[in-house]
């Protein structure tokens, strides 16, 4: 074990640095990555408050007029504001409610399977979709959802109607969330599986001796055993909450279902990249990020108070 330093004195830091040179070296690329790709671009947020002038590089940030909160006010007064906010929050919420527990359940099921071979095959099959490009997956979904597609075929087989699913606003969220689960369930379950393997086997033995059945073992041994992992993953998930991925939605939606499918990130994309309204879209995106930040911090604070597990 290493000595714990009480104070951040210059001397102590130096000593620590000398002792753990290699560790510091190993983390260096990660630090550089975050500085370059997470912190430096933050300067760009200034764009949301100025009238950005293209064509003069970095100077463009200083050439335009200072607009203050004009773009943010424009956004809040926009007729699409309420809808975008609602869709973003609802899709994330559904993702959280249905998408978050799914890999945990899968991990528990997998861990209870006694046949090793079957378990491996099942695991591989479930995490395979993770490696398929979103473009391909969305292409499949779009084709399956046509009135002549697979879903309609299945529906027709049982005497149901043929529906063009991606043209009806009411199906969009279901399609989005369900396909999201299918895509990520196997991959996300890996971390829970490894947490389950870490649980001491004697606990299960003790539970069996106490006469508990499988379900009781899961409820009282497995879940408490991985609860800290669940909470950490949950906090991280909350931090992603407003980050509904624009790519997947853009590949799936069409104007007739904007009512449930248009979210802040797709709007930012259309405004900024397609319509070249850079400053406005930067302001909207910043708005999104601020909400995200607040959510992450509060989830972390609540969890620290209540469950004693937190990120920081």
């Amino acid at each position: 074990m290493q000595t714990k330093y009480r104070k951040f004195t210059k001397d102590n830091i130096k000593k620590d640095f000398r002792r753990n040179k290699l560790l510091y070296l190993m983390i260096l690329p990660a630090i550089v990555f975050y500085i370059l790709f997470a912190y430096v671009p933050m300067i760009g947020n200034v764009m949301g408050f100025i009238d950005f002038v293209p064509g003069i590089g970095f100077k463009g940030f200083f050439a335009g007029d200072w607009m203050g909160f004009k773009y943010l006010r424009d956004f809040m007064g926009n007729i699409f504001f309420y809808r975008l906010l609602r869709n973003t929050v609802l899709i994330s919420l559904y993702n959280l409610i249905f998408g978050f527990p799914a890999p945990i359940l899968l991990a528990i099921f997998l861990s209870e399977i006694p046949f090793k071979g079957y378990k491996r095959v099942a695991q591989t099959i479930t995490y395979l979709p993770h490696f398929v490009s979103t473009v391909v997956i969305c292409g499949l979904i779009v084709n399956f959802s046509l009135s002549t597609g697979l879903f309609s075929d299945i529906s027709a087989m049982f005497g149901g109607p043929r529906i063009s699913f991606l043209q009806d606003a009411k199906y969009f969220r279901t399609i989005y969330v369900a396909s999201g689960i299918w895509q990520s369930i196997g991959w996300s379950s890996i971390i829970f599986l490894s947490a389950i393997t870490g649980i001491d086997n004697t606990l299960y033995e003790a539970a069996v001796i106490d006469g508990s059945n499988k379900l009781q073992q899961i409820m009282h041994v497995t879940i408490p055993g991985i609860s800290s992992t669940i909470i950490i993953m949950f906090i991280l998930q909350i931090g992603q909450m407003m980050n509904v991925g624009a790519e997947k939605i853009m590949l799936l939606y069409n104007p007739s279902i904007y009512d449930t499918s248009d979210v802040i990130s797709t709007y930012v994309y259309r405004k900024g990249i397609v319509e070249m309204n850079w400053s406005f879209s930067a302001a909207v995106d910043l708005f999104n990020k601020v909400i995200n930040f607040i959510l992450l911090i509060s989830a972390n604070a609540i969890s620290r108070r209540v469950g004693e597990t937190s990120l920081m």
Partner: protein
């Protein structure tokens, strides 16, 4: 055998080069000395992937040899509809190629704003000094001279100018064999079309009239105008006796929606229409699922007969619909001769403006037209009895994969239809696999009064354009969504007045006012 051909070929190329040099010496300009390298945002085939048999005829090599300009291609191709995402990113990024190809009319804020933002440079002096060919082209055609400048007469672009015959390329296609089978005429009004589709449907057509949803809007050039014409309007901007109209705000757009909604409810148009793209809709027409289609290309309609001879399928072009039988259809697909796309500006970061201007001007020279629009004689065309032909038997035989396909040869041998130039009349005609039948279809599609109603390429001032853009973009999103809901019946048509009221709240009238003012200014140019 092969050897002797390549020798012949060398001779041909050498001759072409000599001819080119002679033309250059005559003017004392081309090829430029010393050789210049210019950057440009087009996406050309990487040299490594050009098959060996095509190397000697590769058009960009020939252009390079004749102009003395070597192009360094950057990708982010601006020759399509313009303002694609990659170009938008490039503009924001602030590093531009010497020659910036884009649709500058659709730059937010218009060409005036692009000039004001110092992305591209005003070209009046440059063109006057270095560009005799373009000057001549513009001097000969008053319309073009008017179209390619801003209101204050600033030239900003080397335009792509379409010849009259190439301005129309979208329309309705039907299955002639099915029309004949059920004793139907080619429909000319909405009622007749509905009737035809009803009969089709009763006799086993799997999916109705198929098209991509965005065809209904002008932002995408109004490919579906052939339908709207039946209600005396077209989508987006048009002019009627000097007054500018916006189709989606017109009162009788309601009738169009009622009609289209009825068709949708009765399964007469493709139920997947809002979510399919044009490739899917064309595929449905080509594989027999749909018997009527709004087609992106007359060639698709014409080709049906030749590709399905065993099945007896025949495609036929249908005219724009008229408001009543016997009347002349007022609208149809028609692109302005200068529509803004595939036009090249010189960026403010260009180091060698003279070379860029001289290079671009080369493409407007009468004597150079044939070189890059037809390629090397014998490679993708031949002249037989004074007529152009693309039949393989008259061409130089070459060996290698794809060499026996004229279409493939053309991808290497000519520049294509999207390039800043004055197109030869009927140029695209030469690109069709079956030119004659395709021309017949196009004849039908052109047969309307659209020329009187088309809004010319007007330009707004930078301030106006900003206001216009902020109104237009929101309206665009709103109306595309609502119209989809009206057509599919998810929003009752009784709410059409609410829809119009919302458009008014969003500033549609101000937008029309701006466009009218721009049009009036255009007329005064």
């Amino acid at each position: 055998m092969k050897r002797s051909y390549s020798r012949l070929l060398c001779l041909v190329v050498a001759f072409a080069l000599c001819a080119g040099m002679w033309a250059g010496f005559a003017e004392g300009v081309y090829p430029l000395e010393p050789t210049v390298t210019l950057t440009i945002n087009i996406d050309e085939t990487a040299r490594e992937s050009i098959p060996e048999w095509a190397l000697d005829y590769y058009i960009w090599d020939i252009v390079e040899a004749q102009t003395g300009v070597k192009l360094e291609c950057w990708g982010a191709d601006g020759r399509g509809a313009g303002n694609t995402e990659d170009i938008s990113v490039m503009i924001a990024g602030g590093v531009y190629p010497d020659i910036f190809v884009n649709n500058w009319l659709s730059y937010p804020g218009g060409p005036s704003k692009a000039l004001e933002n110092k992305i591209i440079m005003p070209l009046n002096d440059v063109i006057e000094e270095y560009c005799p060919n373009l000057t001549k082209v513009l001097a000969e055609n008053e319309q073009w001279a008017k179209d390619v400048a801003t209101d204050d007469g600033t030239l900003y672009v080397f335009p792509m100018l379409r010849a009259a015959r190439d301005q129309t390329f979208y329309g309705i296609g039907y299955r002639q064999d099915k029309l004949d089978e059920f004793g139907l005429e080619i429909p000319t009004t909405p009622e007749e079309l509905e009737e035809v589709l009803t009969v089709f449907k009763e006799n086993g057509m799997e999916c109705g009239l198929t098209f991509e949803y965005r065809f209904l809007f002008t932002g995408d050039q109004g490919y579906g105008t052939a339908l709207q014409s039946g209600f005396g309007l077209k989508s987006g901007w048009y002019v009627d006796e000097g007054v500018v109209h916006f189709g989606e705000y017109e009162e009788n757009y309601y009738d169009f929606l009622v009609w289209l909604n009825r068709l949708y409810e009765n399964g007469l148009i493709d139920p997947d229409m809002p979510s399919i793209n044009k490739a899917t809709s064309i595929a449905k027409f080509s594989n027999g699922e749909a018997w009527a289609c709004i087609c992106q290309s007359a060639a698709t309609v014409a080709a049906l007969k030749y590709l399905n001879e065993d099945k007896g399928w025949v495609g036929v072009g249908g005219p724009s619909l008229a408001t009543e039988a016997g009347a002349v259809p007022q609208f149809g697909h028609l692109q302005n001769s200068y529509a803004g796309n595939a036009s090249a500006a010189i960026s403010t970061q260009c180091q060698n403006v003279e070379a860029a201007a001289r290079f671009l001007d080369w493409f407007y020279g009468e004597e150079n037209l044939a070189t890059f629009q037809h390629g090397v004689e014998g490679f993708c065309y031949a002249v037989v009895d004074g007529e152009y032909t693309r039949e393989l038997q008259y061409l130089i035989p070459l060996e290698g994969e794809g060499a026996d396909n004229v279409q493939t040869r053309m991808t290497y041998g000519i520049i294509g239809t999207n390039w800043p130039m004055k197109m030869l009349d009927g140029l695209s005609h030469n690109y069709y696999q079956f030119p004659e039948p395709t021309e017949v279809v196009l004849e039908v599609w052109r047969d309307n009064n659209m020329a009187e109603h088309i809004l010319p390429p007007v330009t707004l001032t930078a301030d106006e354009a900003e206001e216009y853009a902020s109104i237009y973009n929101d309206i665009d999103t709103y109306m595309k969504e609502q119209i989809a809901l009206f057509i599919t019946g998810k929003r009752p048509l009784s709410e059409f007045d609410d829809y119009r009221a919302t458009l008014e709240d969003m500033g549609v009238q101000r937008m029309i006012e701006l466009e009218q003012a721009a049009y009036d200014r255009y007329l005064e140019r």
